[in-house]
């Protein structure tokens, strides 16, 4: 018998959520006024912050780097994690390059993501943080890339898996562009039976729409604040 009960007979997940509930998702923009763009994202107990430098003169290119602070994770499978991060970096480069609104990137852009705490949903947190920081830096994008994970337990799709659930279940992460549910990126972490794939993807996509709502509200809120500040200082 495993340590925790993933889904009990009364329909609760191990952390008290229902199958279709997202964890607390909050974000902030512009934490570092000295940088071109910055953001931080909290998804449950997972915490990620993102910093953007650029665009500056150089070849039109996106550079992603992901740092995992040592205290944010268990030390297990260090090498496997290393590989996973590289994979994630290249996935983010492709996704964000294609989401850029102009034919060519306006210059070199460095995106640095720092993972401060991990409790599942690493890919979604990183993607969402990068979207916000790039918007903060004023990079023209077609729309938000919003990411969310979903998995399957028996026949029930689960939204937004925690670390404990990720170790026990098959799951995927979807990045959607905007609110027309276009799948821009899809990362399958392990095997999901073909029959169940549509329902898991639907679940993740529904999640991305909720994420988009929160991100959109955040961007509008901070933009308004900034505008108000400019008016005050008379700029």
């Amino acid at each position: 018998m495993s340590r925790i009960e993933i889904f009990n007979s009364e329909g609760f997940r191990h952390d008290g959520r229902r199958f279709d509930e997202l964890r607390n998702f909050t974000c902030t923009i512009g934490d570092h006024p000295n940088l071109d763009g910055s953001s931080s994202v909290k998804l449950g107990a997972t915490k990620v912050s993102c910093m953007v430098v650029g665009p500056y003169n150089g070849p039109p290119r996106l550079n992603f780097s992901i740092d995992v602070t040592p205290f944010s994770t268990f030390e297990r499978q260090a090498r496997k994690n290393e590989k996973r991060l590289q994979e994630l970096q290249s996935l983010l480069v492709t996704s964000f390059t294609s989401a850029c609104a102009t034919a060519e990137l306006p210059g070199t852009i460095d995106v640095r993501i720092q993972v401060l705490a991990q409790d599942g949903g690493l890919v979604s947190a990183c993607t969402n943080a990068a979207t916000l920081a790039l918007i903060d830096a004023g990079i023209p994008m077609k729309d938000y890339i919003c990411a969310c994970s979903a998995g399957i337990y028996d026949t029930t799709p689960f939204l937004d898996l925690s670390n404990a659930e990720e170790t026990d279940l098959s799951f995927l992460t979807i990045g959607a562009l905007g609110n027309d549910s276009d799948v821009l990126m899809l990362l399958l972490e392990n095997k999901i039976p073909a029959d169940h794939l549509p329902v898991v993807m639907d679940m993740a996509l529904s999640g991305t729409q909720l994420v988009r709502q929160v991100m959109d509200d955040t961007v509008r809120y901070y933009t308004q604040q900034r505008l108000a500040k400019r008016k005050l200082t008379g700029l």
Binding site: N8, G16, R76, I152, Y153, D154, S170, K191, M203, L205
Partner: protein
Amino acid sequence: MPSKRKFEVSMASESATALDHVSLRSVKGKCVKIVREQYLRTDIPCRSLLCTRCNTDLSVALPGSSPMLATLSSAPPSTDSLGPHYAVPDLSALTQAMDCFESSKLFYDVIILQSVLEQLRSVSTPLYRRLKSVIAANNKRFVVFHNLFHKPSFVAKQPAETFDHYGSRCVLSAASWYAKHIPDVNIVVVSAGLIETNDSSVTVLPLSEYIPQFSGTASLLDSMLRSEPAIKKNPNNTVYFSEHFPTSKILGGVKSGQLIQGKLHISHYNSNEGHIYSSDRDDTILIIGKDNLNRAFNDDIVAVELLPQSEWKTELVTLDTVKDVDEDDSNDFLRTDSNISKKPTGKVVGIVRRNWRQYVGHIDIRSTPDILNPTFHGITNVLVTPMDRKIPKIRIRTRQAGSLVGHRILVMPDTWDTDSRYPDGHFIRDLGPMEDQDAETEAILLENDVQYQPFSQAVLDCLPKEGHEWRVPESKSDPLWNKREDLRNLQICSIDPPGCQDIDDALHARMLPNGNYECGVHIADVTHFVKPRTPMDNEAAARGTTVYLVDKRIDMLPMLLGTDLCSLKPRVERFAFSVIWELTPDAEIVSTRFTKSVIKSVNAFSYDEAQKRIDETSNSDELTKSMRMLLKLSKQLKQRRIDAGALNLASPEVSVRLENEQNDPTGVEVKELKETNSLVEEFMLLANISVAKRIYEAFPQTAMLRRHQPPPESRFEEFSKELKKLKGLKLSTKSSKAIADSLDKCIDPKDPYFNTLARIMATRCMMSAQYFASGQFDYAEFRHYGLASEIYTHFTSPIRRYADIIAHRELAAAIGYEPADSRMHKLQEEHLLSFMLVRALRVTQLSRKRG
């Protein structure tokens, strides 16, 4: 790919507040901070029919699945002093009186708190399982209330708060909430421990006062009696044992290497002796004597302190060979029998985890002779001698000692203090008089932890509702016919022991136009009826296997499936899973295919009947011809296996003769093996091997296989030495082929049973085969030594072995019949399962031996 179906997802914070759970855990020696979130909700329903406020219509999973219905009755049980009430048991009540909760006499409308359920799960898996089945049965109106997810009643654990104290705070907080939420009924917290409240709306009642309020519960009451601390068994305050170290000291000691932690194994021969195995030292540490065992039970996880080297001992078993050995030999690194090797000895200084369970035993009359006096009434202490000789006597308190003498009774230890010679426990249940067959059978089952209770309603609900009237649908357009081949026209028959009701397998053979043979093995399609993770599947997995006792069979699956709907009975259409080969006249495989099918067996034979039919030369019908083909091919298959070095080690099947159902066994006979026995066996082996290859191809990581390692040289040494000494025979152990050949030569012309005996002895030297997931080992290590096969699995007995059910699901997924189980990748689960299956098989062997 996505169907653009929208889910009404929401953020958990809309109906819940997040709470960070910070815990420190040591991962590989490093201290790691683990943060996880937990949500405290406000929308958890109380599930009482008296409540109009809670929204009970929350769908718990996908829309369309069963909602959490209000279950607690609006007219709950009522007593004079308590009035109508809902009972809320705490952990101590459940651990001490599970029988009362299962009883039909009392405990209706019970609120089981999530906090209590989780605590129970951590202290006893069997009790947890029993409680879960009471909840699932739903006839006693037990509801689970998730107080740990419920904002109004949640209480946080204080730093350094004990397990029990926190547990009772959770119970009281939830009970108070209920009392305010549903003022029309009383909320009664039932406990066997010390629990107090200052909330006047909640009644707290000891179990021993609660139970007598219901009629017909006198016999249940004894399970509440314990030797209470007030009753001093030992007036002189003699201390028999030394105190255990405090937990912190044990943890520190184990970490620094001063103490050794391990599972205590008590010797089969002497209950005052045991050992633990230390993987760090790669050695066993002997623990000799009651003082050194210091109140530890067999299977407890203990911390041991080494004794000074001067007190190290040689193991008893080697004592008689010690004399004629020179001192110098002890420098030898190779430890042989003729070597003095002093074993470290130790003393138990602490118990990391008790593995106490319920024990079957009988009252030791010598301990309290006066209970035999017919005028004796009242409560008394008695000693119970457990059936398991590794377990010390347990003292219990009972008021029915007189009537329990000479009975098998079930008891549970509770504590063992330093000032007591014996552990203190409590009475649970009377199984019946000793020597009575029912009582003894139940005792064996209990002692071996075999699930023998009747199947719960939840399990029975998984059966097809047509019952015995279930038929293969007539119309082939019925969805059940999807991807199923119609093999009803084949001449299929089954061959089993006489009187076999659960027919797992059937066979056929026919000549192909090209001169080759088509042979088929058809296995009952159990997984059509047993779907993954249904209550029936869980129950079958927990049972692991059908257990055969002399006069009783404890089924893995309900009778309806085992002996009817799945059983490949003759002249009835049945669903099957077929393996069909094309074989050359030399029994070489040309091709193999697998398909789900519908078959109609022509006849069911016993081994004898089949043999007679084949031998009778005048028979020339289709069926007999195909049976002859099968026999011919099976002989070739067997020869090839033997040439490859397969061992014929299986101990002969022993059958126990019963005069009639009620009578005691009258004799034991060794079954004679007919050619038809090995006909069936060969084709089953072939099917298992073919299936193993196919599922390994499809699931290189998770295929469920079975392997058998070669025996370590050392095990055979003694046996071959004895053979040499006694009979002058030589046993070669170089390879399985060599063993098989030399065993064939182990013949004593004067003693016809000698060869059989030698084979049984050789079997004892073998390793036992094990289930594993293909990802665990390299292909070279898959080998099944005994069968001389590169790869092997269990596929052919799904009615009575759970491993076969897994293989069936994997094969069905491999051939694209149904999607793979979404959690099949979960290796860990299978590890566990493998363990359980092995245990269950061992139990079968054991009960056969003892029964």
